[in-house]
Amino acid sequence: MSKVLRIKKGANIKLVGGAEKILADVPMPSTVAVKPTDFEGTTPKLVVKVGDEVKAGSTLYYNKDNDQIKFTSPVSGEVAEVKRGAKRVIEEIVIVADKEIKYEDFGASNPTSESREAIIEKLCKSGLWPFIKQRPYDVIAKPNDTPKAIFISAFDSAPLAPDNDYILDGKSATFQMGVDALAKLAEVHLTVNSAAKADEAFLQAKNVILHFIEGPHPAGNVGVQIHHFAPISKGEVVWTIKPQDVLAIGKLFETGKYDASRTVAVSGAQIKTPKYFRTIQGVSMKTLLEGNLKEGNNRIISGNVLTGDKIGAEGYLGFYDYQVTVIPEGGEAQMFGWITPNPGKFSISRALVSWLSPNKQYNLDANMNGEERPFVVTEEYDKVFPFDIYPVQLVKAIMVDDIELMENLGIYEVAPEDFALCETVCTSKIPTQTIVRNGLAMLREEMS
């Protein structure tokens, strides 16, 4: 095994309700949705209207700023509703799904014998392109860029995250085909968790540069891996993609179809039987969670508890999410809560008693546990931020819109998800991820 990078900074927040390795099938949901809000920095331009018949892979809308980037339907059926929010922003395009999916045919082919242009064209047309994101800015990659690398993190280290080694087991060939397609676009780097037994889909992958990393979350964040293996300097671009999305690309080349099926970990304290489900992108929570929710005021999150979106019982799975987490909402005030030992609450500080039981699994709710305050405590973010970047100083530079300082302090290398633990542990309860997202959005606008 080649050299292992050991990360010390970070934290594994152990939660109750981890998904058991049992795979169950979910019936085809009656409705699925594509949510334009999943894609940062895009403006949807609809090409369908309510009542239109679509197939899996039919374009629903494209990005107004770059019409090459298309967003397609994961199922065949009828466009039932275009839900708009404030300022008429399109929030959801809801499709009533057929029982049997009909597919658009993009043509099966072997990526190794195709040109770079043809592969990009195929990925764009089929609607798979948005799976490829880029750093800087953490947005959908631009097809005409030439990135210096494509990074894939083979594992997800977030709380209750799905186990990719389990999901990809036995799918080596399809995964390899996806990798082959990506390798035509740029050098592919694959980072494996050396502490776990990685699946052969990863370990035997060809056409990739394999890295090994070990340590607590966010070791599985692709941003951490890029930072240590191929740091991004100003002017450089690195693309990123998740393993299940590589699988989807593999399937596209194998079958010529946009197969939006995916394996989703349903987890969290408020789930009766946490396990894996074979379902589809954009699945409705009504279908996915039916009969599996515990009583109570639940918070349903598409994604993990650190970076996911609160979606509600009527919501739909996000485009980039392979996990649904349901935790209690909480919301009760606590008398003298600033001094009670609170053994049930997680903390990286030792000002609560939880540090005495390092292996305890927590049942955490969505309480803020305090109010927002100015920055006071120092070196707190540093404990969970394994970058050679000063996180608080960068956040402050964003707060005061100092573009030069943001660049100098390394904003091009980070995404909001890299700050998720900082936000979680912040004594001052600063909305760090939102600040970083706004900073990236502002910088992107300035630079374009």
Partner: protein, 399 residues
């Protein structure tokens, strides 16, 4: 029970302070009191992290206050002890403690009342919430003053420190100087007769009505060290059996909370175990002081320079300053590397000022204030080094 109280507050009291209520503009004041009783049940907003660490600013600040309690309690007892030592009267443990408590508690009350009063007024004017920073400052101020200081001076200094030291910069988290030390420095320069000399350190020392036994001096070890490097005497004029041990335990005259290095070490342990104060600053601060003390020992040009290096660590306000004041995260250096430099220089300069300039017997205060001002500069160079590394990489890519 607590639910019922919370419901009552939310339904019957709070509406008066909400928009349109008759006490609307006092909402920050109400809010500060309610959140003191109940940590609010706000939940995360659905974007970003859904779960949060159990710590908050209130808990952080309260932990620091708790860490100061041993020094406070010891300070109360010692105030009485020094008083009875100087007067030569017989006393019991409780006599000493009660005498001290009656002297010290008013200082604490005045400090909190004056400081929180200013904080509330600013919160109401600026319509923001009352931050918890003063909970710590309010305890630090009485502990770093001589027990005989008049209460009105405490109030004046506290108000000055909170307004000029903190609020003009934007409140908690924005100040450049440590608030408590700003108060102390204000008194030191405005009312030097009440902040130095031999009488202010002993309870009743400034009061002509209290009779002192023959030989009673009240001089602190720091004051005596300008003339001799050993053979220090206590408040009754009797030589300490073991002056290092007496100073370590705190059986010496001095500011209320700073005499007992032992009590301060208990506080330091609380701060270090909870991880709230930086061990980097404490460690490098002690190292800096010890190194300076050793250098002076080598030089040995006057009695003060001959005071053993380890003695410097237990006399005067060094221990108190390095544990509770140098570690104030807002006014200290904020980067890990910066903290080592910052702490070291506080210890180093503190002992240097102490020995070189006996007119300012407490060098630690000035050293910390000076390094407070320098901290952003230290951080600036630490950040520059990081930026340079990144720029070098970018250049290599461009080339």
């Amino acid at each position: 029970m607590s639910n019922a109280i919370h419901k009552f507050l939310e339904n019957n009291v709070k509406p008066n302070f909400d928009e349109g209520g008759k006490l609307e503009k006092y909402l920050p004041a109400y809010d500060a009191l309610e959140t003191f009783l109940f940590v609010p049940g706000h939940t995360t907003n659905g974007k970003g992290s859904h779960i949060r660490d159990g710590i908050d600013m209130k808990r952080t600040m309260i932990m620091v206050v708790l860490a100061m309690v041993p020094a406070l309690l010891f300070g109360m007892w010692n105030t009485g002890y020094q008083h009875f030592l100087a007067t030569g009267e017989a006393y019991t443990f409780m006599d000493a403690f009660l005498y001290g408590a009656l002297k010290v508690l008013p200082l604490v009350v005045v400090s909190y009342a004056a400081g929180l009063g200013v904080e509330f007024v600013f919160a109401i004017i600026n319509k923001h919430q009352v931050a918890e920073g003063f909970l710590v400052s309010g305890m630090l101020i009485p502990l770093c003053l001589p027990v005989e200081i008049p209460l009105w001076m405490v109030a004046a200094a506290t108000i000055f420190a909170v307004i000029i030291g903190k609020e003009v910069f934007g409140g908690t988290g924005m100040n450049i100087l440590n608030v408590a030390l700003t108060a102390r420095a204000f008194l030191f320069f405005a009312y030097p007769t009440w902040m130095s000399g031999d009488k202010v350190w002993i309870g009743g020392g400034m009061d002509e009505s209290v009779a002192y036994a023959d030989g009673s001096t009240g001089a602190t070890i720091l004051a005596q060290a300008t003339e001799k490097s050993s053979g220090f005497v206590d408040a009754a004029g009797v030589a300490y059996g073991d002056s290092f041990m007496s100073a370590f335990l705190g059986l010496i005259p001095g500011s209320v909370g700073e005499t007992s290095t032992l009590a301060i070490m208990i506080g330091a342990a609380i701060l270090l175990i909870t991880g709230i104060a930086s061990w980097k600053i404490m460690f490098s601060g002690i190292l800096g002081a010890y190194v300076m003390g050793l250098l002076f020992n080598l030089w040995g040009a006057n009695p003060f320079m001959e005071v053993p290096a380890h003695m410097h660590l237990v006399i005067g306000g060094f221990a108190f300053g390095i544990v509770f004041m140098a570690t104030d995260p807002v006014s200290a250096a904020q980067t890990a590397t910066g903290k080592y430099i910052y702490g070291f220089l506080i210890g180093f300069l503190g002992i240097m000022i102490r020995v070189f300039n006996p007119a300012y017997p407490e060098g630690i205060m000035l050293a910390i204030l000076f390094m407070n001002v320098m901290a952003p500069l230290i951080d600036h160079y630490v950040l520059e080094a990081n930026i340079k590394r990144r720029q070098k990489r970018t250049m290599a890519v461009a080339a």
